[in-house]
Amino acid sequence: MARPLARLRSALDARVQAWIRRRQGIDPDPLRLDRRRIYILPTPLGIAYAAMLFAMVLGGMNYGNNLGLGLAFLLVSLGLVVMHHCHGTLSGLRLRLAATESGFVGSEVGFGINFENTALAPRPRIELGVGREPKRVVDVPAGGTATAELSVPATRRGRVRLERFVVATRHPLGLFRAWAVVHCEYAAIAWPAPAERGRVPPGIETDTGGAQEHAQGDHDFAGLRPFQPGDSLRRIAWKAYARGQGLHTKQYAGTDVVSHVFDWDSLPALGTEARLAQLCRWVLDAHEQGEAFGLRLPGVTLEPNVGTAHRERCLDALALFEVSDGRA
C-alpha cells in the first residue's frame, strides 16, 4: 500500500523540483541566503507546543486563572520570538562549494559546502542535507567559516551531479525549522569500482639505470627522507618511527625502476566496464606498491609517474572514459 504512494510522492516531488529549477534557475556560487528564499514552518514538536498552548489558554479561560493565562501568553510570545530567531539564524548566511571528493562506485562522493558567516552573531546548528533529513550539522561562528560535507552515493561511473541541497536550522528551541533549497550544478567524480585481485598486470617496462637522474627503485637502500603525503605505506621506515625519529620514507636507488603501463588494449576479452575495473585495480595496486605506472586508453595517454596526484589523474581518466554527457 505504502510503496506506490511513496513512489507517486517522490515522482511528484521530482516534478515540482524540476519546475522550481526551471523557474528559479541555477543559484550563483557563492550564494547569500536572503529572506526571500528562506521558508519556515513549525516542526512536529512546534505543533505539539502550539497544541499545549491552546490547551493552556482554554484552561486559563475556563478557570478564570490569569496567572495561568499569563504563562500561556508568555510561551506563545516565546514561540514567535523563537520563530524570528530561527529565520534570522539562516538569513544572510553565505555558502559556496569548497571541494568535491571523488569516490569509487558503490561508496560515496562528497561535496564540501563552505558556510561563511560575516555577521557579528554566531549561527549555530546549520543543517545540511539533500532532503528533509539533515545529514550534517555545523556551527558557524561569528565572523567565521565552517565546512560540512554532503555525501552522495556513487551509483554509476562518471560525474555524480548535485542539483539541489537543503540548508536548514532548528535553532534555538527546535520548535521551528527554517530552510532554503539551493539549486546548484556541482559534480563530483565517481571512479569505477576496482576489479577483484587476480589478473596479473601486463609486462613491466624496465628503464635502465642512469636513464633517470633520481631514479627510485626497489633494490638498493639509499637513505631516508621525511615522509610526504602520497608515499607508499610500505616504504615508511617503521623502525625509525618506533625509535621516535618521526615518519620517514625509505629511499632506494637501483637500476631497475619498475614502471608499468596499463593498456586498454591489453584486455581485449573484457567489456568496457570490466576493462576499466581491471585497470582501476592495477592502478591502485601499483600505487600502493609505490611503483610508477602509466595509463593508455583510446584517446588518452598518461605517462608513467608516481604520487597521489598522478593516481587521481589516472582514476579520473578511467571514470570519465567515454562518458557521454552534454554538459561535461
Binding site: N65, N66, V76, S77, H84, G88, A119, G174
Partner: protein, 654 residues
Amino acid sequence: MAALERAEPGLRGLPWVIAALGAALAPHVPFLPAWATLLLVAAGAWRWAADRRRWLLPPKWLRVVAVGAVTLAVLGTYRTVNGIEAGTVFLALMAGVKLLETRGSRDLTVLVFIAYFLLYAALLRDQRLPQLPYLLGVTVFATAALMRVHAGTAGDSGRDVLRRSATLLLQALPLALLLFVLFPRLPGPFWGIATGDQARTGLGDEMTPGDISDLSVSGEVAFRVRFDGEIPPPAQRYWRGPVLHEFDGRSWRRPRAQAFPSQEVQYVGDPVDYQITLEPTDRPWILALDMPAAWPEREAWRTYDFQLVSPRRLTEVSSFRLRSYPQFVAGTDLPLSLHRKGTQLPPEGNPRSRALARELAARHGGDPVAITRDLLTMFREQPFVYTLDPPKLADNAMDEFLFETRRGFCEHYASAYTLVMRAAGVPARVVTGYQGGEFNPIGGYLIVRQSDAHAWSEIWVDGRGWLRVDPTAAVAPERIEQNLVRALAADEAAPGRLRDANPLWLQVELTWDTLNDFWNERVVRFNAARQMNLLERLGFEDPDWRTLGLGLAASLAAFFVTLSLYLAWRYREPPRDWPARLHAEVARRLGKRGLVPAAAEGPVAYLERAEQALPDLARDLAAIRQLYVDLRYGPLPNESDLRRLKHLVNRLRP
C-alpha cells in the same frame, strides 16, 4: 536483543530536563500522595544515574506495565484522571515513565513540555504574588533545558544557556503583556470545575476551643477592605462569619439544615460602603461588616442568621461591593424554631456552669441584660487571662475553664458565655468571624489577617432583637480597641509581634501587602469588564471586541517589526573602514557592467582587471586604485586623499 536498548550515552540536556521537571513539580509535592513523590524522585534519580553509568533502559513491556500500573494507581486513589488534583498526579507520573524511555531530543522536548504544563497546573492551584517569581524562574529554567536539548555549541556553559534563555523570554515579555491585556476574555467556565478538597486556613463551620487560637497564629491575610468613606472605629469592625447554633458540650456547629424563617432588620445611622477582596478559602463565606445591608444580586445572599454567603465556594481571590450598617436592630420577632435552636443544650454536662446560670437567672428574674452584666463583671474582676496558649480542657470543658483554669482565647469566653446564657433560658449563639484589622496607609485599605479571627456571642432580648455581646472585650479590651498583640501578655509569642515592635519592619510588611493587593486587584482579578475599563482609560471610546482585535493586530505587527529590526542589528556585519566601504561601492557600481570581484580577487587586482575591461573608465579607476593603495598601505594616509577617493567613487557612472 531488541528489548534491551542501550540509551544514547551522555544524552545532551538530560540533567537539565530532570531538574526542570523537579522545579515544576516542587509546589505539587504537598498535594501528591507520598508514593507518587517517591516514585518520581526514584525515576529521576535512576534515569540520571543510568545516563552517567550507561545502564540499560527498561524494555518496552516493562514501560507498558508501568503505564498501566500508574493509571490504575491514580484511578484507585482519585477515581478519575481528570481535574487538577488527579490530572497533575497523572501527568507527573507519565513524565516519570517517559523519563525511563528517554532516548533522543524528541523525548526530552516532550518532557520539557510536561514541565511547562506542571508549572501551569501549579498556577491553577495558587496564583498569588509569590507565584510570579516562581513562574518566571521555572520558565527560564525549562526554556534553558529545551535550549540545551536543541543547543548549538557543545561547549556552552550552563550560565550561558540560562542567560540566553532569559534573553529570549525578555524579548517575549512585551508581546506577552500585550496579549494579556488585549486577548479577549470570555466569561467562563466552559466546562465544570472540579476542585479538590484542600485544607486552606480560614474559618470552619465548627468551633472547638482551640480552633480559633490555632488560626490566630497565622499572620496570613484573610481579606482586604477598601472603604469609600471613613473607616469605622475598631469597636465596630466585626466581620461576620459563620453563626454557630448547635452545642454538644464542647464544640459549636453551624446547623446543616438552613431552613429557618428570615428575620427583619432595621438599619440605624449612616451606612458604610466598601469593597472587600477575599483570599481564596474554598468556603462560600463573605466576611461582611456586621450588618450587611446591600450586596450584588446573584453573587451573594444573606442567611436567616445574617451571614453573607456566596452561591459558590471561593476558590479564587474574590471581590464584592457591599454596604453595611454598623448600627441596627435585628430580629425583634423570634420564630419558635429559632428560639428552640437558640436555647438548645446537651442533656447533661458542665453542671457547674448550669448551676451558675440557674443562680444568675433566679437572682435577676431571667433578665438577659442583667445576667450578662454579672457574667462580664466576673470575667473582668476575677483572675481570667486572655492567652493564645490556653491549657487543654477535658470532658466538662466549660466548667473547667470557668472555675479552674481561667485561661482562654476568645472562643473560650464566647463559648462559656453562650452556654451560661442558654442554661439561663436566654436564646444565644456564637458568631465567628474577624474583628479589627490593620489600616495600610501605603495602599489606603484595611488588612484583616487570620490573626484577627474572633468569636463573640449574640443574645436575643425581647423588644431589642439580637444583641452582640463580646465577652473578650471584658477580659482584654485591648484586643478590640487595638489588636491581638497588644492584648496578649508581652512574653507570649504572637503573629505580628515583630511588626508591632519595629516600625521599619512594619513599613516593609505594609509595602509587601500593598504589592499583593495591587497584584490581586489588577492581575488576578483581571476580567472582561476590567479589560474594557482599561481600554476606556487608555482613550478608546466605547471599546468592544473589534477594538481588541485591532489592538492585537497592531501589537503583533509592531512586535514583528521590532523583532526583525533587532535581529538585523544582531546579525549585522562588523563596521568596515572607509577604503573598504568605498571599494565595496565601486564593486557595486561596476557590477552593473558585469564586473564582479572573484572569490580570491583582491581590490587591486579587481580594479586592474576593470581598467582593462572598461577603457572608458580606466583613468578614474586607475586613480581610485592608486588612492586606495595609498590609503590602505601608504605610510601617511591622510584626509584629503580620502576626500578625493570619495569624490571619485561618487563620480563613477558605469
